[in-house]
Amino acid sequence: MSDQPESAAPHRAGSDVPFFAVMGGLGGSYLLLIVALLAADLAFTSPRHFAAALSKPEIQYAIRLTLVSCTISALMSIWVATPLGYLLSRFTFRGRWLIDTIIDIPVVLPPLVIGLSLLILFHLPIGGTNLEEQLQERLGLRVTYSQPAVVLAQFAVACAFAVQTMRVTFDQIDARPEQVALTLGCRRSQAFMQVALPQAWRGMIAATTIAWARSLGEFGPILVFAGATRMRTEVLSTSVFLELSVGQLESAVAVSLLMVVAAMVVLGIVRLLGTRVSR
């Protein structure tokens, strides 16, 4: 063991200012970029542009379709994500890695590819017919280039994010109470419904919110699978594209800001719920 040098001065740790300056500087640069983007949008548009955009029947239709399709897609996502997230969190089984990988495909794949794949799926010839024709004949339901395609395109991507959220939610919930419930006479379904699910409500709200927000931002798959027909399959993200394509930049910015407000409200709900969400 070495002796302490007699002449050594008392140890001083030094200032923490450089640490916070570097960390804050690096992190703050991204924050600054987002704020600058929003500020530029706000500076470009005016309440007059905003009112003009909102008064267009096409934009009003797009707002309605966006609210309805995002809500349906988010509700569908939570119905699927809750059981899937639970099974992946609680059980280890052969081939689980494959399921994990398949579920992550919509997260990593370019959204446009999802849209293209949906289009191909519905029109792939199988025995002289295809899925689209079968649905039209049997159920009278037209999917491609109509409103169901909007919901399906949103769901295909948003659900993957909801599954991730629900999986993390159940990972964070201790499995022991469910095991005890089994010894107390419960079936698996009873342990899930009476013990696990009541603890997962925050995560379920977060997953629904995330799915809703992802659906709001979906553009590529909707464009390919549902098209961008005004007063039919136009949602707010396609409105921005359509307004831009006809040179209505002010209107496009106004719609973009409307989407920013909607996204902030939704993300605010997540923050309020205080659920840690891992993406």
Binding site: P177, Q179, V180, A181, L182, T183, L184, G185, P198
Partner: protein
């Protein structure tokens, strides 16, 4: 009666094999052994929460090896208690009875009986997050006893408790077991806890279970996390202990 017949249990990548043991009907058996030897794994296998890859588990003479945990009639108190965070204390005591569709009046009667037995009458409408360590242990014990199981399995139930609470719970466990005649298997590291409670001493060492005379407790090496019960309670309990079968 609890009987394990040459049991092989999978625990992650490990397999605990050749596990045999017999606990007489109504006996209070204490299972001791070093940390990481597989005591909890054995308890979980008896509950049906672990995959048994060989051998048999017999409870009260019935082979339950392939039965679901729900059908085994085992009262289980895990080390971390596993209380239901979304329920009040009353909900815990009612839980197994509601699952079994007992009539409401009988459920209320049983809850009152348990609350009185465990001294938790005033806690019935409290959320479990607001319970002290000793109170939480009592609630978990009440939940395990609620449906009148044939067998009670306790995994280090008195750990992390202060000495006074530990002493009271030792007394409570013993009196409940005497009254109900439950066959009990209790895991502990504490020799004093074992002296106080055990009719039968089982030691797990190097994957093998061996029954040892209670007198061996005086010669066993101390386990690092052992916390003794106070001598006063030990004396009281020793004099009131029923003779070993």
């Amino acid at each position: 009666m609890i009987q394990l017949d040459n049991l092989a249990i999978r625990s992650g990548p490990f397999v605990l094999s050749g596990v045999s043991l017999s606990i007489a009907e109504g006996a209070y058996a204490v299972l001791m052994g070093g940390t990481g030897q597989g005591k909890t794994t054995i308890l979980e296998a008896i509950c049906g929460l672990r995959t048994v890859i060989g051998g048999r588990v017999l409870l009260c003479g019935r082979d339950v090896t392939r039965e679901k945990p729900a059908d085994r009639g085992v009262g289980y108190l895990p080390q971390d208690l596993g209380l239901f965070p979304n329920m009040h204390v009353r909900g815990h005591l009612e839980f197994a009875l509601r699952v079994r569709r007992w009539p409401t009046a009988l459920i209320q009667q049983r809850v009152e009986e348990l609350a009185k037995l465990l001294g938790i009458e005033k806690l019935l409408d409290r959320r479990v997050q607001h319970l002290s360590g000793g109170e939480a242990q009592r609630v978990a014990l009440g939940r395990a006893l609620s449906f009148r199981p044939r067998v009670l399995l306790l995994d280090e139930p008195l750990n992390a408790l202060d000495e006074t609470t530990r002493d009271r719970l030792c007394e409570l466990l013993r009196s409940i077991q005497k009254q109900s005649g439950l066959t009990t298997l209790h895991i502990t590291h504490s020799r004093s806890e074992a002296r106080l409670l055990a009719d039968q001493l089982i030691v797990l060492s190097e994957g093998q279970l061996a029954e040892r005379p209670l007198a061996d407790l005086d010669h066993m090496p101390a386990v690092p996390d052992e916390t003794p019960c106070s001598p006063a309670v030990e004396r009281r309990a020793t004099t009131s202990r029923s003779p070993s079968p």
